[in-house]
């Protein structure tokens, strides 16, 4: 009897540990794995962090069309648009473009732009050396800003990629930054 009571106890503890482990796995392991997986595969179009530009040969034999899109998330009232719709770049060449933002409201606000690239397979070859999306953007009531984006399209990008579309969604994070 006491033998079976003991083995029940160890079994229960093991099972309980298993349950806790799965909880920890879901909260602490799954999200980082998910991010890592997306980063490696370029899935969900997220682009990487700031890129250290390496001196690389510019591939003048190819031209890639880069299109810029700006979207406001739901009720975000800012004016937000790229200064040009699209440009042609050579892989390896560092280019600067600008986005314009204006806060037409009567209150100071903070925004965060979230980038996304299609096709997914180009995401990891789209390197940003400078981007307003690395930080949040604060604009006082009525203020405007010209925001810089510098990027390089990696010469290793697949030959089938002729067009890359970079889309920013602008989120209102005023409430979060105040809180």
């Amino acid at each position: 009897m006491s033998l079976s009571a003991n083995s029940t106890k160890t079994l229960v503890l093991k099972l309980l540990a298993g349950a806790l482990l799965m909880f920890g796995f879901a909260v602490f392991v799954m999200p980082p794995i998910y991010d890592l997986f997306c980063e490696i595969t370029g899935l969900n179009g997220k682009t990487g962090e700031r890129y250290q530009a390496l001196p690389a040969a510019i591939d003048t034999s190819r031209q890639i069309k880069v299109q810029f899109i700006a979207t406001n998330n739901e009720t975000m009232p800012w004016v937000f648009k790229p200064s040009q719709q699209q440009i042609y770049v050579h892989p390896g060449e560092e280019v600067e473009v600008r986005y314009f933002a204006h806060n037409p409201t009567g209150r100071d606000m903070v925004a965060q732009a979230i980038p996304s690239v299609v096709p997914f397979k180009a995401a990891e070859y789209f390197h940003k050396t400078e981007c307003f999306c690395f930080n949040s953007q604060a604009l006082k009531a009525g203020q405007s800003a010209d925001m810089a984006l510098r990027f390089i399209v990696d010469p290793d990008v697949a030959k089938t990629v002729n067009t890359i579309t970079l889309s920013y969604t602008l989120f209102d994070i005023t409430a979060v930054t105040e809180g």
């Binding site: 029940t8 349950a19 799954m30 998330n73 979230i114 809180g179």
Partner: protein, 516 residues
């Protein structure tokens, strides 16, 4: 030692007896089944005709959400835990569950969880309205304030399921009568052992996903919030990593129940016992690697779509093995069709239809058409209603004489079966057609072109609802009747439970039964 139960309400509040707790679980789940059924009838009544007639769209959404949650977590899962409480100790020759006190707790926290969940209906902003799958950001950024109560209710349900699962594993591993080796256990015990491991693996993931929601909503984290660097699609991955194994949690014990019933009424032993065990294990294992078949349309690379598509189709193989074995068991048997057998045969046929629509949905390019239409609703109701619900009903008719010592009325049982069978098919079969022609799920109003299918479905739904009232009546009438059942009840059934007197005494197998 051989004392009876305490009297009155205390018997039920303080009980640690596996039979009492099994009974509590079963009655609770039946109450939830009726509550969830009322929600379903509100949905069907609104959909009887196109246009908005009875409820507001906001309330309609609360009904679809609450219907799903109550049926999955309140009706189906507790019913199987109740059957396990009653039958697992009797089937393996154990005196009780391994952890009787924890058993009491795992039941008694459930009514609180569901009281909390139901109370959200009366709160400002209403009950949860984001579907039983509660996708973020609908369930975070855009959720009604009652979402916090929903989250805590899910935590409590999860704790209850995990405790129940631990108890069942401990019972099966440690309390088998001498001579009851693993490969001699009845299949119901096997399927529950595997289900319990699934529960321990994925209920914590469900708890985790609602906890992450809680933090996103109240503590400023951004697990699922794109503005803060999170990703709402990750919610779907984590949810379905829980969700797909969850659907097998709701069907594996059902496989066990019909595997007990069909041999009795075919008067042959189960065909391919060991292949049944391995098929169950294979299904459980595969259920962890197919979750993204719920997400074919979110945007996955081709390789991902293909991998999940083939993995999903692979699950049909062990499932097919099971269906084959049930049919082979019946083949050339001397079959009779008492109520439990009717429900079981209907299970085999109709569950297979659900499996086929599942296969259609598993074809990724086709799913782009079917996804989020009534075709999906038809699919999962065919696997859950004549699957999970029919097997529970079959189990109740099969073991009720052993539980209460009286025989049910066969004629009433058959009337119940045929009303349920007809009601169910009239309700859910037309949904295939509505879905194939493009009717989206979870909408309170719809295009005129779907009017006929919906009217038929609603008529069927009320018939199916009426059948359940008959079920309630049958069970109560049996308990109060004076038609004693024999100890064997059926014609030479297999299993230790039939060696006991009817009704099964309060304490059984205090000495392990001798096994050959």
């Amino acid at each position: 030692m051989a004392h009876g139960p305490a009297q009155g309400i205390r018997r039920w509040l303080y009980t640690t007896n596996h039979k009492d707790i099994g009974t509590l679980y079963l009655w609770f789940s039946f109450a939830m089944f009726l509550l969830g059924g009322v929600f379903a009838l509100v949905i069907r009544a609104e959909l009887f005709e196109p246009g908005m007639q009875i409820v507001e769209p906001e309330f309609f959404n609360q009904m679809t959400t609450m219907h799903g949650l109550v049926m999955v977590f309140g009706a189906v899962m507790p019913a199987f835990v109740g059957l396990a409480n009653w039958m697992v100790p009797l089937m393996i020759g154990a005196p009780d569950m391994a952890l009787p006190r924890m058993n009491n707790w795992s039941f008694w926290i459930l009514p609180f969880a569901f009281a909390m969940l139901s109370s959200t209906l009366f709160m400002d902003g209403g009950a949860p309205n984001f579907g039983w799958t509660f996708y973020a950001p609908l369930s975070t950024t855009y959720a009604p304030p009652s979402v916090t109560f929903f989250i805590f209710a899910v935590h409590i349900m999860g704790a209850s399921s995990i405790m129940g699962a631990i108890n069942i594993i401990a019972t099966i591993v440690n309390l088998r009568a001498p001579g009851m080796s693993y490969m001699k256990m009845p299949l119901f015990v096997w399927t529950w052992l595997i289900t319990a491991f699934l529960l321990i693996a994925v209920m914590p993931v469900l708890a985790a996903v609602v906890t992450m929601m809680l933090f996103d909503i109240h503590f400023g984290t951004s697990f699922f919030n794109a503005a803060g660097g999170g990703d709402p699609v990750m919610f779907q991955h984590i949810f379905w990593f829980f969700g797909h194994p969850e659907v097998y949690i709701m069907i594996l014990p059902a496989f066990g129940v019909v595997s007990a019933i069909i041999p009795t009424f075919a008067r042959k032993s189960l065909f391919g016992y060991s292949s049944m065990v391995y098929a169950t294990a294979a299904i459980a294992f595969l259920s962890f690697v197919v979750w993204a078949h719920h997400m074919f349309t979110v945007g996955m690379p081709l390789a991902g779509e293909m991998a999940f598509m083939y993995m999903t189709m692979l699950i049909a193989v062990p499932t097919g093995v099971k269906v084959f074995n049930w049919v082979a068991t019946m083949f050339k048997g001397s079959m009779t069709f008492e109520t439990p057998m009717l429900f079981s045969v209907a299970f085999v046929i109709l569950f297979t239809i659900g499996g086929f629509s599942g296969l259609m949905l598993a074809i990724a390019p086709a799913d782009f058409q079917y996804h989020d239409t009534y075709f999906v609703v038809a699919h999962f109701h065919y696997v859950l209603v004549p699957g999970a619900i029919f097997s529970i009903t079959a189990g109740v008719y099969y073991w009720l004489p052993k539980w209460c010592g009286n025989m049910y009325n066969e004629t009433l049982g058959k009337v119940h079966f045929w009303t349920a069978f007809i009601g169910l098919n009239v309700t859910f079969f037309p949904m295939h057609f509505a879905g194939l022609s493009g009717m989206p799920r979870r909408i309170p109003d719809y295009n005129m072109m779907f009017a006929d299918w919906n009217m038929i479905s609603t008529v069927g739904a009320f018939l199916f609802g009426a059948a359940q009232i008959l079920f309630l009546f049958n069970v109560i009438a049996t308990i109060r009747s004076k038609r004693p059942a024999s100890d064997e009840v059926w014609d030479r059934p297999e299993g230790l439970e039939w060696t006991l007197p009817s009704p099964a005494p309060y304490h059984t197998f205090t000495k392990p039964p001798p096994l050959s």
